[in-house]
Symmetry: none
Subunit: 352 residues, 2 copies
Amino acid sequence: MIKTIVGTADFIESLRGKKATFMLALSNTKTANIEGITQAGIPGMIHLTPTLDSEFLCTGEVRSLDNIAETPKGVPTPALITRGVHLLSPYSRIELLDLGLEVKPKVDYFKLYNFDIEPSDNIAKGANIDAQTLFQKGVEFGQSYKCQDDYIILGESVPSGTTTAMATAIGLRYKAKEAFSSSFKNVPNDIRKNTLKLALSHLNHKDDIFAILGKLGDNMLIFNAGFILGLNNQIPLVLAGGTQMASVLLIVNKILRLMGGTMETSNLALCTTKWVAEDENSDIKALIELLQFPINAYYSDFDFSLTNHPALKLYDEGEAKEGVGAGGALMYANLNGISKENITKQVEAFLQ
Amino acid sequence: MIKTIVGTADFIESLRGKKATFMLALSNTKTANIEGITQAGIPGMIHLTPTLDSEFLCTGEVRSLDNIAETPKGVPTPALITRGVHLLSPYSRIELLDLGLEVKPKVDYFKLYNFDIEPSDNIAKGANIDAQTLFQKGVEFGQSYKCQDDYIILGESVPSGTTTAMATAIGLRYKAKEAFSSSFKNVPNDIRKNTLKLALSHLNHKDDIFAILGKLGDNMLIFNAGFILGLNNQIPLVLAGGTQMASVLLIVNKILRLMGGTMETSNLALCTTKWVAEDENSDIKALIELLQFPINAYYSDFDFSLTNHPALKLYDEGEAKEGVGAGGALMYANLNGISKENITKQVEAFLQ
């Protein structure tokens, strides 16, 4: 089932049976190199996570490393969910956005958009992003994008992206500190607090919005804020993610206010997982309610209650929550009649 | 699952969720009248097999005979698989190519292309095909063909087509004798050897490529070689077949060499069944590796291990292997999330 966090069921129900382009935004921030800040990947190889996620989503194979990214505790990447849904009820197409990758995914035949974007730096030292140029690239992409399907599901794979998302929201002066999740169950608050403190220390009161984003953000956040404004409500867009996608919306909100502009958002929604929606360490609803435009937000109530696989059980225990558009993928499965049983079996099959 | 014989998974994975036209090339060669050379049909009625296959694929009914073609041992036609997949996850459209049929299929509403082609003669006496004209018809069809879907699956139904395919490849001087399968488990080597010997005896050293094809080939092989060249990589094309489709590619390869030409083949692939890919009496991989252009080749790992039906079990025992695009159909099923269980049940239902 798809449950409503904010708004009504109508938007998402209107997409039932419609065709979707699955778009995956990929980026590296050197913030992920801070020891212990993320478990989204293999220690020392964290930067490969978006590369491996996208290879696996497209081809069912990981090519840039022997094994697919697992967290140290053995939680498998949510790419297994996103790929599993694709096998059961395929997205009409998968498109990859290279928003600054250390290593390009090794896939042919799939659209891989290149925007000449470099991985961003560690926010503890200043992310060092030319945010205005990057934002403009997103706007232009949105303005020129021709969707070949009925709607877009936009996911992301950005290791340590919840940290940059939190820093960005706080840097933009939202009261959002308590509302952010991370990929850790026991959120590493000391490491994050310290990172956040260092990151915020680079701000000064003259910083405009792009200066703030350039110090605290990551490429995915900034580019996608531009992409949303560029699309301008012309194509139904489901942001498939949790607090990171909420932070994208917070950037959009801030830019609209700055410009004194408004934008129709009737075709814009967010959809995340149950693990995010019910997370006790974050509050996706509170983040969305900070927005000054109306938006629908949903979550899929899928969980791993039907499996006995210990690695998957860790999701239900809060060890992993979202990523690679898993929430949007699970929504898509529901919109296309795929059962919880079948998804569970398919994901289990990857681990055999 | 779809497994890779040659190349990488990317081409076929990029078709996941895409829409397909299923095209079935139908032809008779009097070679099939040689007693014992094929079991693709009812003795004395072998020439009806492509007609019945196409009627059943399109309508679920056989109209030109009381019962659907079975081999003497009772192996049902692979059209059951191709039709079964269509019931579970329909091809966007089915189109029939009449490349020289004794009896036209009795179907309305389905596109049946007519090219004014007569059934070809027995290769033991010389197939007597105007190969250049036939080839040119294929080229023109490919050049003018407007695909209404994302890609084409091209299957065939040509009784005794493995024999003509083998003769053609050998006649074109490929070292391919051991690499060809037939629809028999215990390949009737004496009958085939004798047929082959007689067929090759008609060649003389002055024969150009079209003269050779005209003596040894069948209409499907020659027309489709032209079709591929006419399409010229503009539309993704999956050749759904085993050694016969490999022989089509060998003709394409020879013609390209003759012309000193090259062709992009990134949108061209072959997909066959597990029964062909794992056949001990033929070597599809070796045939494909004779090509001087790159190509992706795959097989579906579907088998009848989930059934107890004795007639279907004969497939797993090697009594039947491919035909009516079964390999491509099984690939299409996988690309659209149809499980092995469901295909098995659907095919079983036809036999009840």
